[in-house]
């Protein structure tokens, strides 16, 4: 299949591009290095050393004999997006190319506005490029489980059948996003849903949980193929942050009681889910939503898991409950449905002590690159 990966320089975008290429698909990637710039601005850096995108593509060609086309463009520039889509004529677009950080968006008004406008505009551009070029192309868009928030009922996959005053309809699942960033993804979902209804677009919205892990089948082939690994307060996510903290002797930063429960998945499963969605496309006019995670954990549980795995490696890991910088429920009901990707054949890589130990071992190789000051939370929700 001919597939365009947007945000192809990112933590997930680059491994996805390699994985799809390895499986015989014709892959092009687009990125504008915004993530690199934002992480640099926040005073941090990828723990893993990473090449630039053309270098990565060259290394991939050397290792695999396969080509990944590189396009360094800003997706807010419609002329460029439209030109790329018109030339490449993708059968699927995998859209990771957005600002992905809740704390970044909560910094101040400027960051809130920039996150929302960047994400909403670039998503509209992608929709219009597909529609205006009259392509039979499947849009696979990365959303987030954070769009739903933590309602007191089971979260369904995008839509819920509601019986009300004697009548019934299946409607979009209500959204209560956790941050300005998560709200931008809600806006994208609304827009994509509209585009399926009005233009007959094929779309799959992958409401992803928190991704963890440092390596995939392709990144381990050659150090030049490594993906980025963020651990700072803005772009690092829970389990990855804890793993890095463990290897450098930083206390694990549990926010509040750590009772916050979220869905998680291994980075290898992200790649598998995206390919499953691609190989089983939505129908024209169909908006599918998959809840893309494999297991739920509380933050407290994850900290304990990392502490135990650390012990195996002789690391003395301290857990510290710090004042929660976020406005969120710390103890709450959480039971989202996530069967649709399993139905398509997903074989989950579940979290285990071995898996955490392996991750810690990999991170230990790069621990001298860690920037200690980037770890403590500074961004507050109020």
């Amino acid at each position: 299949m001919r597939v365009l990966v947007l945000g192809g320089d990112g933590y997930l975008g680059w491994p996805t591009a390699m994985s799809l290429s390895a499986h015989g698909h014709e892959v092009a990637v687009a990125d504008n290095y915004l993530r690199r710039q934002m992480v640099t601005e926040s005073g941090s850096d990828s723990l893993t050393p990473i090449l630039n995108l053309p270098q990565r593509a060259r290394a991939w060609q050397e290792v695999s004999g396969r080509t990944i086309d590189v396009h360094l463009i800003d997706l807010r520039d419609y002329e460029l997006v439209n030109g790329l889509v018109r030339e490449f004529r993708p059968e699927a677009v995998v859209h990771y190319g957005q600002i992905p950080s809740a704390p970044y968006s909560m910094t101040d008004r400027h960051h809130a506005v920039f996150t929302q406008l960047n994400n909403i505009e670039n998503n509209l551009n992608v929709i219009f490029a597909i529609v205006e070029n009259d392509l039979d192309c499947h849009l696979i868009k990365l959303g987030t489980m954070g769009e739903y928030g933590c309602p007191n009922i089971d979260i369904e996959e995008g839509f819920i059948e509601i019986e009300h005053k004697g009548r019934t309809d299946t409607l979009p699942f209500p959204k209560m996003p956790h941050s300005w960033y998560h709200a931008s993804k809600v806006a994208d979902s609304t827009n994509i849903h509209f585009a399926t209804r009005v233009y007959g677009l094929r779309a799959t919205d992958l409401n992803q949980g928190v991704v963890y892990g440092v390596s995939t089948e392709q990144t381990v082939l050659d150090e030049r193929l490594l993906t980025r690994f963020d651990y700072d307060e803005q772009f690092g996510t829970a389990l990855n942050r804890f793993c890095l903290q463990a290897v450098i002797g930083h206390p694990l930063t549990v926010y509040g009681t750590g009772g916050q429960t979220r869905g998680f998945l291994n980075i290898r499963d992200t790649l598998a889910c995206v390919e499953l969605a691609m190989l089983n496309p939505a129908e024209p006019g169909e908006m599918r939503v998959y809840n893309q995670f494999t297991e739920s954990f509380s933050i407290r549980d994850l900290a304990l898991e990392v502490q135990m795995a650390g012990k195996e490696l002789g690391l003395d890991v301290e857990i510290r409950e710090i004042d929660n910088p976020r406005t969120e429920a710390q103890e709450h009901y959480y039971n989202p449905t996530h069967t649709k990707l399993l139905d398509l054949g997903l074989q989950p890589t579940l979290l285990s002590e071995d898996l955490v130990t392996a991750t810690l071992s990999t991170l230990l190789e790069y621990k001298d690159r860690a920037i200690y000051e980037a770890i403590a939370p500074r961004t507050r929700w109020r």
Copy 2:
């Protein structure tokens, strides 16, 4: 009360400002004339002759002895919005200041993106100006009934209690907007709701139906106080368009079968609703949603109503079903709840043949200003 009316030069903003001023409130208005510019660009003009905003405010002072402060600013410019809010310290902000047209937003990618970015950014700016100046200020935001779309169940006022798999929660009512414009209002609602949860903002979202009418208690006092009246395909709305069409001998443009049913209200009721919301503010941290309309009609019914009223005035009114330029259900269930504003004391001005006849009579005075070519729909949803 000290109230800031954003979009104070508009069809509803200007009469609202006068009405609140007449009732003894201290009123400031802000506008950037974007609506005037967009209507001019679309080849149309307000049927009623209107002065510029400083002239209007001067005329109002002559007629009423009361002052309305005028600020000509673009709400996307945060420095200006923040400065105005910091100086004026409003107790309530009535936010009409957005691009209000579904067809405009459906013109092409540029118009879709401009509508969404303008509306979303200016709404975020208003939220941040209130929060950053630490004001105990009630945000009254104009939304639209078009955020909900036409689900097959009764539409509740913003929130719905859902019982699901043995558990219950009250959640935001699911949204299925009709256009890129309506989707921008959904994004605003999501953002305002988040701001109430995270910053303790007081907010009322008025999901308004289609407004009709040409005059209010204040506009009739002096011709210089007239509000604008749009009838073109982009900025005119159903009943107003039919009335203008009737007086100039244009067939009434019913889109498709005319079975589309929507909520409607008289412009005088808009003013009453906004003031009721203002005098009965939301609590800190509360997001209230009112469905702001008084009656539901199908487009077909409205055309017949105008035809009958026209007969009274000796007008021979033809009804013409034209190919529907929109993607929408033409026959559908529609029964939205709208009791909360009635509970606050709203006395509706219901549609009647007399009322339509009176509107037609007023429009007849200005019929020579009508631009015939601006009427037929050109914007298509697909």
